[in-house]
């Protein structure tokens, strides 16, 4: 049986450190998180590309597919839904998504651990 553990909010950086429509990597409680600031909002997913195992998703190109905000893995271009972490190219493939918000100009992340 699986359950989701929700942790506390962690301040990561000021909003202006996020390049518009691009990602950065952040280290939150030892977890590598890919943070994105797009015209559709702030998104946080695991930085680990589940296909290759490399920690690179923060370096993908963001965009949209049929209205869904997306990021494409920079290694082999699989596209993920930034809102859910679901891979849109490989059924069943998914990355963990995390909560993120901007509070007084500070970007905060709250990890969601599936376990």
């Amino acid at each position: 049986m699986s359950h989701t553990t929700t942790l506390d909010w962690t301040a990561v950086c000021t909003l202006d450190r996020l390049e518009p429509n691009r990602g950065v990597a952040a280290l939150v409680d030892g977890v590598q998180v890919a943070l994105f600031h797009t015209v559709d909002g702030l998104f946080a997913i695991d930085n680990r590309d589940p296909v290759s195992g490399a920690y690179v998703l923060s370096r993908g190109i963001v965009g949209s597919r049929g209205g869904v905000p997306t990021v494409a893995s920079p290694l082999h271009k699989q596209v993920y839904d930034l809102r859910t972490g679901d891979c849109l190219d490989l059924p069943g493939m998914t990355v963990a998504r995390h909560d993120t918000r901007c509070h007084d100009g500070i970007v905060e992340v709250r990890l969601r651990r599936e376990g």
Binding site: A25, V28, R48, S52, A54, Y55, G63, L75
Partner: protein
């Protein structure tokens, strides 16, 4: 299975095609083949023989393919056939056969006129003939060709290229009497005379006169005139070589040639004949296509098939002295009651004639001079209904001709005998574009003239040739380029708002980034452009499988000082980078983490290095051999040119990566013909080749221009590159770009050599802007704290290196440590020991 002996006499194009066809049908090797060749070189492309004078080498004309179970005896002509004993004799011995195939071809007919044996009189048949003509032409001024047919005009062009003032003497009242009619011949004559070749029609050569030195000096014509000629080429037709067959008592055709039936078998069941020496049902065919057909028939018969000669397609299309000439079907209107429709335009110098059946419904044949663009569709329509109204078909560019109206039996590609039905089947089987059709059917892979028809057939089949870039843009890269260029748009957000939809994606964003970069829109990481770049361009380094990057400094032409080499070694050592020499004569440093990149560049830039753009869809390297500076064979300074070209085109963003190389002589050590643009030195300049690549589908570059000065060369490359950048599809290398281009290489030549679209000044200016605006992308980042900010491991922990990037040691160097890899330690002197274990295992 018993193995039987097959002897083939002759290794010309048809003899070779026969062996290829037999080997393809006889994989078990039931036939053990011996080929006896008269010439000292294996089969070459005699149809393109004249290309030898354009600088095309003997190797490039080679059409010989070695096969298992086939021995080729070069320079060992057959001297006799003993049909009783079934043995072929040569000067060196005897070859027993169970089956014998005669592929002896033809010999040039030399009319019995006095003086035909004088020094300076040549025929035009073999590479040796051409080499002898070239040698003899040196220092001579006037030449003449006896014969104004296809071969005679080719020979005339050759003499012209060799710098000789040239006369052509033709007995018939027009040039190319076999292929074209009187009016077409007249049009052709205007073109030819304009090139400075004088023509004498309706006259015979009565004697060849010697000068004081005993060599040829003049021709005497039947109308009493004399024509000066220090070199004479006799191109008065060919005759089948049937002497061996005659001596062996085999029946011959009424006008010579080895008589065979429709199965290409002679009266002797063990002896066959193919190609020009074969008189099929009494008629010899002097074209390669019917020759190939006979080769296929015999190959099929020898493995138990039942093929018969399908009849000769005498259709021809060629470019003679720069003029398109085509003739097909009943070109001379010999069918009873047939009707002619002709079109003559003296202004554009186009002549066209269609021969129709008496009810004007069926196309029987035709002649085209000056513009043969309608040829593929017309030739395929012979025997069927007209694909459009005659006038529409004959108008220049053949605007009305559409392959979609052809019947299934019409041959679309005559080079490879592919019918419309074959193409339609391939489309039904899933081929959705021209490259797929080429791969599947072989149509369009030889002369390429049917490629426009392949596109039309795809259209006719309703296969949507969508050129939309992705879901965000309905236009192709080429159209997008024009929109950006013409409207002066400089941001992605404006472009997608005005001409697209959605947010963009990993397809359209890098395309737009590349277009903006090609148009000189500042640093690739400026402002919004940074968000469009693939990770490689975003970090100006190459992402590797473990998330680390590799760094390649530019080493123009592969030339490097010891001091700089030491700096690279020191940087690699200090940052513990895996080091490897690349195929492009550079050094790749692997395993750098993002935060290390600026530190590595700082060291390299301070030592005089700059970005090598290994990460970009941009010029990579211009590889070179050492050239005439050191090499005892080199004829030009290949390294100097490679360095200059690499510095000129560095940083040029393109639809795909661009590679180049310069070889200092014809030995081609720099492998220039595997590059997008390759240069090979000649005694007098440079030959330019375009459209080559290695990779998934290797392709040799095509010869584009010869004996260029350095200035001419650079101008052509400038235009080639800018035209490619403007008009190619996304991720289309130059090879695919040229293959997909309507008109192919000829069109490209028209655009960038003859300026047919009036674009050249614009292309030149665009390259000039690139050259003057270049600056090193690494240095620009080092100089700018804003741009430097992104080179950090974690936005909230910049001092923590990415813990996921770790290394093991393999062969003394760091490599990604991954669970897949079983790393092993090896003794320091492993290279000195015999290899026993430790070979890499295949990953499955």
């Amino acid at each position: 299975m018993s193995v039987q002996d097959l002897v083939v006499i002759g290794n010309g194009m048809v003899g070779q095609r026969f062996v290829d066809a037999l080997r393809a049908r006889d994989p078990q090797g039931r036939w053990r083949v011996t080929v006896l060749a008269e010439e000292g070189r294996p089969a070459y492309d005699r149809v393109r023989l004249s290309a030898y004078f354009d600088g095309v080498s003997e190797e490039e004309l080679n059409v010989h393919t070695p096969h298992d179970g086939v021995r080729l005896r070069l320079g060992e002509p057959a001297t006799g056939i003993d049909r009783e004993r079934r043995v072929v004799t040569t000067a060196k011995g005897e070859y027993a056969y169970h089956a014998l195939v005669l592929a002896t071809g033809s010999y040039p007919f030399v009319p019995p006129v006095p003086g035909a044996e004088l020094p300076g009189v040549f025929v035009y048949r073999t590479l040796d003939d051409l080499a002898a003509i070239r040698t003899y032409a040196q220092g001579r001024r006037v030449g003449a060709v006896i014969g104004g047919g296809l071969l005679g005009l080719e020979a005339a062009n050759a003499l012209r290229l060799l710098g000789l003032s040239t006369d052509v003497i033709e007995f018939a009242p027009r040039l190319m009497p076999v292929q074209v009619d009187q009016a077409g011949g007249a049009m052709l004559r205007r073109y030819v005379e304009e090139l400075g070749v004088r023509t004498h029609l309706g006259v015979a050569t009565t004697a060849i006169r010697a000068g004081a030195d005993g060599a040829v000096a003049a021709l005497e014509l039947s109308d009493g005139r004399m024509v000066d000629a220090e070199l004479v080429v006799v191109a008065a037709g060919i005759r089948p070589r049937d002497d061996l067959a005659r001596a062996a008592g085999l029946p011959l055709g009424p006008r010579g040639g080895v008589l065979v039936d429709e199965t290409c078998r002679t009266a002797d069941e063990h002896v066959w004949a193919v190609g020009e020496c074969a008189a099929v049902d009494g008629t010899c065919h002097g074209l390669v296509a019917p020759g190939y057909a006979t080769a296929e028939v015999v190959a099929d018969r020898l493995v138990g098939g039942a093929a018969t000669f399908p009849g000769a397609d005498t259709a021809t299309k060629l470019k003679l002295l720069g003029v398109d000439v085509a003739s097909f079907g009943d070109a001379h209107g010999t069918t009873e009651g047939c009707l002619d429709v002709t079109f003559t335009d003296p202004a554009t110098r186009v002549y066209a004639k269609l021969v129709l059946s008496d009810d004007a419904h069926t196309l029987l044949g035709g002649v085209l001079v000056g513009d043969a663009s309608a040829y593929p569709t017309l030739r395929a329509s012979v025997g069927g209904p007209l694909p459009a109204a005659p006038l529409a078909l004959l108008a220049p560019e053949g605007g009305g001709a559409d392959a979609g109206t052809l019947p299934a039996t019409a041959q679309v590609c005559s080079c490879n005998a592919v019918t419309r039905g074959d193409v339609d089947d391939a489309i039904a089987g899933g081929c959705a574009d021209v490259p797929a059709l080429k791969a599947c059917t072989r149509a369009g892979t030889s002369c390429g003239s049917c490629v426009p028809m392949l596109k039309q057939l795809l259209d006719a089949a309703g296969v949507a040739q969508s050129t939309a870039l992705c879901e965000h843009f309905d236009v192709s890269r080429r159209e997008l380029f024009e929109i950006v260029r013409v409207r002066g748009i400089r941001t992605f957000s404006q472009l997608i708002a005005e001409h697209g939809r959605g947010r963009g994606c990993d397809i359209c964003k890098p395309v737009v980034a590349s277009i903006l970069a090609s148009l000189g829109s500042g640093h690739v990481l400026d402002g919004e452009q940074a968000s469009l770049q693939d990770t490689n361009d975003h970090f100006l380094a190459n992402l590797q499988r473990d998330g680390s990057y590799s760094v390649v400094p530019r080493i123009p032409g592969g030339e490097i000082t010891p001091e700089k080499l030491i700096v690279i070694g020191e940087v690699a050592r200090d940052f513990q980078l895996y080091t490897k020499i690349t195929g492009g004569q550079r050094i790749d440093l692997f395993g750098a983490r993002v935060e290390q990149l600026p530190q590595i560049w700082r060291r390299l830039v301070d030592a005089g290095f700059e970005s090598g753009h290994a990460y970009g869809k941009a010029l990579r390297t211009v590889k070179s051999c050492v050239g005439e500076t050191w090499c005892r064979y080199g004829v030009q300074d290949s390294v100097g040119l490679a360095v200059a070209l690499e510095l000129r085109y560095r940083g040029l963003r393109a639809p795909h990566k661009l590679k180049s190389a310069v070889s200092g002589c014809a030995r081609e050590c720099a492998e220039a013909r595997s590059k997008d643009f390759g240069i090979i030195a000649t005694e007098t300049g440079w030959n330019l080749y375009v459209g080559g690549n290695g990779g998934f589908r290797p392709r040799h570059a095509d010869l584009f221009a010869t004996d260029l000065s350095t200035e001419e060369l650079v101008t052509l490359i400038d235009r080639f590159l800018i035209y490619y950048i403007r008009t190619a599809d996304r991720l289309q290398r130059t090879a695919g770009w040229i293959e997909a281009m309507d008109g192919g290489l000829d069109h490209l030549r028209a655009v960038i050599v003859d300026d047919s679209l009036g674009l050249c000044a614009d292309l030149d200016a665009a390259m000039a802007r690139h050259v003057t605006s270049y600056s090193d992308e690494w240095r620009d980042v080092l100089d700018d704290p804003e741009r430097l900010r992104r080179y950090t491991s974690f936005v909230n922990a910049p001092d923590v290196p990415d813990p996921s990037i770790t290394f093991a040691v393999e062969r003394g160097q760091p490599v990604p440590a991954r669970t897949l890899t079983t790393t092993r330690s090896e003794p320091a002197d492993a290279r000195r020991q015999p290899v026993t274990l430790g070979l890499p295992e295949v990953r499955r």
